[in-house]
């Protein structure tokens, strides 16, 4: 960082002093290079260790050799092959069902006169913020084959002979997965439906095709790229997640890759090498999905965006409005109202009981998890530290990465951009195994501490932060920064006085997303935590396993409230919706 302080007089243009050879390294270049180095360490290092680890006979820092035995033993075990097949089957079925739920819902709220569509628009996004894993736990209480609430309703009130529902089945598993991943489809498809040029539909109407015919022959085909893109995203999420199959799959001995990895590492002796090989299989599967997605994105030329700001016309449904309205209500009931009602109900009980007895209700369980149970108290504190501190750290780190890749001509900016999106295609379980391999015998004491979780969260969720800061930065004209520089403010001063204030809405949105992910992240946490660094989702799972249902319900409700409190507070502070649209 050398800068020449006193430029010489120009009187001697010819006699240029040769001593001023030092090239200037600007602050921004130094900051951007540091960001690249940190990102390389966070993202690439563990993945490389995993890649090498999958063909080594033991963990790093231990005597081992190159071998293909890990994969050989992996594929020799029938149970493992079965898990791979189950992963593909359950994810594919869940994807199909999520599309079947998400696309009609998106169409109903964006393109029809379904009553209450503004309300449903907001309501359908809520499950996206909720923890799918808690949803799964709630559904085991609703549709448990012996004691589930819904089953009791059907047998006791409606007079069914036998319990109609069994959550511990492939349809049950697929149903819960689809329920909580369909908001992804909804968000993408609704976005595409709203940005589509209405004249495409108007042309169809003018040339003699009715409203529903136009929907089927013009509207839906035009948004196909959004549908297939969101479907792949659902598949990626479904195949890589641990929570739902752990809650519903394990009790019925239905193994998928993620649960096999986790169980394999959980019993002594931990199967580190098998986990690495298994993680590589899952990584291969998700890489395939990501590549498919890129091909779709590259071809989606006909998802036209209108610049005219016209509101697309709504389809007048007439009597069918009752049907679409019912469908919307049903989704809200199944994804939000029923599961969370049952959780609240159970959380108020002194012990697990399905009797409706308001006299016995109390807030005792909440007091217990908040103050008396050292495990839940520690988990709450840890989650809050990681959520607030981690999200803040990540969003500022994301800002630097976005700035370097969008605003500089540094050679490293393309690497940065790639590295910052890479973890989005790596399932959390795979990333957790990679981190385990990378840090377990590292001479620096990180593994087994809360720092391990912080590193894991930042590295895995950096794409969320960068997406938010990049889209924000793209909306800010570079002239606003250049003007600040020309008028005497340094690079750092410009970041502080211009860029950060202008990006406040975008950074707030990013911060909320990160906080939510950090608070609810089960897969990373459960593979990397230690007794000192327990976090909320881990404890929720432990309470579920030990059958402490009232405490579990209270703690789950608390976690959910925390997520909503964060969304509310950040909206207040960040004044989202203010000058976002300004260039």
């Amino acid at each position: 960082m050398s800068r020449i302080e006193a430029p010489p007089d120009v009187a001697s243009i010819g006699a240029r002093r040769r001593s001023r050879r030092a090239r200037t390294v600007s602050v921004e270049a130094a900051v951007c290079w540091t960001a690249t180095a940190v990102l390389l360490w966070l993202v690439l290092y563990p993945l490389i260790v995993l890649l090498i680890g999958s063909i080594r006979s033991d963990l790093p820092m231990r005597p081992s050799e190159f071998t293909l035995a890990n994969f050989r033993t992996l594929f020799a075990d029938q149970a493992n092959l079965r898990a791979i097949l189950n992963t593909v089957v359950s994810s594919a079925l869940a994807t199909a069902l999520a599309v079947a739920i998400g696309v009609p819902l998106a169409w109903m709220t964006s393109r029809t006169d379904t009553p209450g569509r503004r309300f449903f628009d907001n309501a359908f996004v809520i499950p996206y913020y909720l923890s799918p894993f808690i949803g799964a736990i709630a559904w085991t209480m609703l549709a448990n084959p012996r004691i589930g609430f819904l089953n009791s309703l059907f047998t006791d009130v409606l007079g069914f002979e036998a319990n109609p529902f069994n959550i511990y089945s492939l349809p049950g598993l697929v149903f819960v997965m689809a329920l909580y991943y369909s908001p992804i489809v909804f968000l993408l498809v609704a976005g595409a439906l709203r940005s589509m040029d209405p004249s495409l539909e108007e042309a169809s109407r003018v040339h003699g095709v009715g409203a529903l015919g136009t929907t089927l022959r013009v509207t839906l085909p035009v948004v196909t790229p959004a549908v297939s893109s969101s479907a792949l995203l659902v598949f990626l999420n479904a195949a890589g997640q641990l929570g739902i199959p752990a809650v519903i799959g394990i009790p019925m001995h239905y193994d998928v890759i993620t649960t096999r990895i986790w169980v394999g590492l959980g019993y002594f002796p931990p199967k580190y090498t098998e986990a690495a090989a298994f993680a590589m299989v899952l990584l291969g599967l998700s890489t395939l999905i990501v590549l498919l997605q890129h091909r779709i994105m590259a071809r989606k030329s006909y998802a036209t965006v209108t610049g005219k700001g016209l509101r697309p016309g709504l389809v007048q449904l007439g009597p069918l409005r009752a049907v679409t309205f019912t469908a919307c209500v049903l989704y809200v009931l199944l994804s939000i109202v029923l599961p969370y009602s049952v959780l609240v109900f159970i959380s108020l009980q002194p012990y697990l009981s399905f009797e409706f007895d308001p006299a016995s209700w109390s807030l005792g369980r909440y007091a217990e998890v908040l103050f008396n149970n050292p495990l839940t108290v520690r988990a709450t504190i840890n989650s809050l530290i990681l959520g607030i501190g981690g999200a803040t750290l990540t969003i500022f780190f994301s800002l630097v990465i976005s700035y370097a890749s969008l605003r500089t001509r540094l050679k490293s900016r393309h690497i940065l951009d790639y590295l910052a999106t890479l973890p989005a295609g790596v399932p959390a379980v795979v990333f957790a195994v990679a981190l385990l391999w990378a840090y377990i015998y590292l001479p620096v004491p990180i593994y087994g501490t809360i720092w391990m979780l912080l590193i894991a969260y930042i590295a895995h969720y950096i794409p969320f932060g960068v997406r938010a800061t990049s889209s924000g930065l793209l909306q800010v004209s570079t002239e606003l920064e250049e003007s600040s520089r020309v008028h005497g403010e340094s690079w750092f001063g410009t970041m502080r006085r211009i860029v950060v204030p202008l990006l406040k809405p975008a950074m707030t949105v990013g911060w909320i997303l990160l906080f939510v992910e950090f608070i609810r992240s089960l897969s990373l946490s459960i593979l990397l935590y230690s007794p000192d660094s327990v976090v909320m989702p881990v404890v929720i799972y432990e309470l579920y396993e030990t059958g402490a249902y009232p405490a579990l319900a209270a703690f789950s409700v608390l976690q959910t409230l925390l997520i909503f409190a964060a969304i509310y507070a950040a909206r207040k502070i960040g004044r989202v919706d203010s000058f976002m649209q300004l260039k």
Partner: protein, 364 residues
């Protein structure tokens, strides 16, 4: 001493060479305009002056201080160059008030609060925005935003003011008024101005000197009159004002008077001046182009005399309010001609044209 010296700077972006050895100077208090089509390098030159681009070679001196020298690797960051700049989009910070925007350069310098307030208010008054300080900066009309940007660029009392197409976002009427105000303000403050535009009318009206650029090089520089009257290449005639072109070969060239005769297709003969700079390159027999501005072609009563007298037929007649524009055909060539709006034409459309040889440019 010059206020600005740019000495052979070049800049490439990937495969594209944006600037080729561009050199120019500006005297203190001079209004210099960089004019040219988009992609000509004018904005890159301005940004190199501002420190927003780093030239690959060459050297820049502003107000006696070297700010950039590719050979020694010295590069002064923009904030230390002490400049004022008006951006095309105005670059008004939307999260600040008018006052905060205008006082920004003073705050960066660490000027005391009371002084800052006084100077900011003074400059706001100067640009005609007195009393608007507390307003949110986004709550202003386009013309007012433009004035805020101007006030901000002047508040630090820079010696050099850079302007990047500052009037292009205003509507036509406002643009003409701001043009006048800008020129008056610049002369009053004595600040050296470097102005970038692609609008030739703006350049002609504002500049002490125009530097015309094309393809990353300086094509010609001089006063507005020089550029308009003494163009040295077809590009200059074409870019600044309108012109009719006749291609042909030189029949004769009188080096004493600088007048040459050119013969085009169909035996069309025209006499015109050859600029001094080109006189060495042109001789009898060499190919050349004659350029006639539409307002220099006159319709005469009765038969026009040689030289440059032609019989022609009117093909179309457009009424433009302050004048008429005719498309006429003479000896197989089509010309655009501007005439007073009330001039009468013979009913059969057969007319006689005349153009003074001194008003015709013959270019290589």
């Amino acid at each position: 001493m010059d206020a600005i010296t740019i000495d052979r700077i070049s800049k490439t972006f990937g495969e594209v060479t944006a600037l080729h050895n561009v050199s120019l100077t500006a005297a203190p208090g001079e209004f210099v305009t960089l004019l040219g089509p988009s992609g000509c390098g004018k904005t890159t030159t301005l940004r190199a002056l501002a420190g927003l681009e780093r030239p690959d070679s060459g050297r820049i001196v502003i107000d006696g201080r070297e700010v950039s020298c590719a050979e020694t690797g010295y590069f002064m960051p923009p904030e230390r160059r002490g400049l004022g700049m008006v951006f095309q989009s105005y670059a008004i910070w939307p999260h600040m008030t008018v006052f905060q925007n205008v006082a920004y350069p003073l705050k960066a310098k660490g000027v005391a609060k009371a002084d800052m307030r006084a100077r900011a208010e003074q400059i706001l008054e100067l640009v005609g925005l007195a009393g608007l300080g507390p307003r949110p900066a986004t709550n202003l009309s386009g013309g007012q935003q433009q004035r805020v940007a101007l006030a901000r660029s002047l508040v630090g009392e820079p010696r050099v003011l850079l302007l990047d197409e500052p009037l292009s976002n205003l509507d036509a009427k406002l643009r003409e008024r701001m043009r006048l105000e800008l020129k008056q303000l610049q002369k009053r403050l004595g600040v050296t101005a470097v102005y970038v535009t692609h609008d030739q009318a703006e350049a002609l009206a504002l500049s002490d000197r125009i530097i015309l650029m094309n393809g990353g090089r300086i094509v010609q520089q001089g006063t507005s009159r020089d550029i308009y009257r003494e163009p040295q290449s077809r590009f200059v005639v074409d870019f600044v004002g309108q012109a009719n072109f006749v291609e042909g070969t030189i029949v004769s060239f009188d080096r004493q008077t600088g007048i040459a005769e050119l013969r085009g297709a169909n035996g069309f003969q025209i006499k015109g001046r050859i600029p001094d700079a080109l006189s060495r390159k042109i001789a009898a027999g060499s190919p050349a182009t004659a350029a006639l501005r539409p307002e220099e072609i006159h319709i005469v009563d009765g038969e026009a005399q040689a030289p440059n007298g032609w019989q022609a037929k009117v093909a179309s007649d457009l009424f433009l309010g302050n004048m008429r524009e005719l498309t006429i055909e003479a000896v197989g060539h089509v010309f655009r001609v501007q005439i007073p709006s009330e001039q009468r034409l013979p009913p059969d459309g057969i007319i006689w044209l005349n153009a003074a040889p001194a008003a015709v440019c013959i270019l290589a």
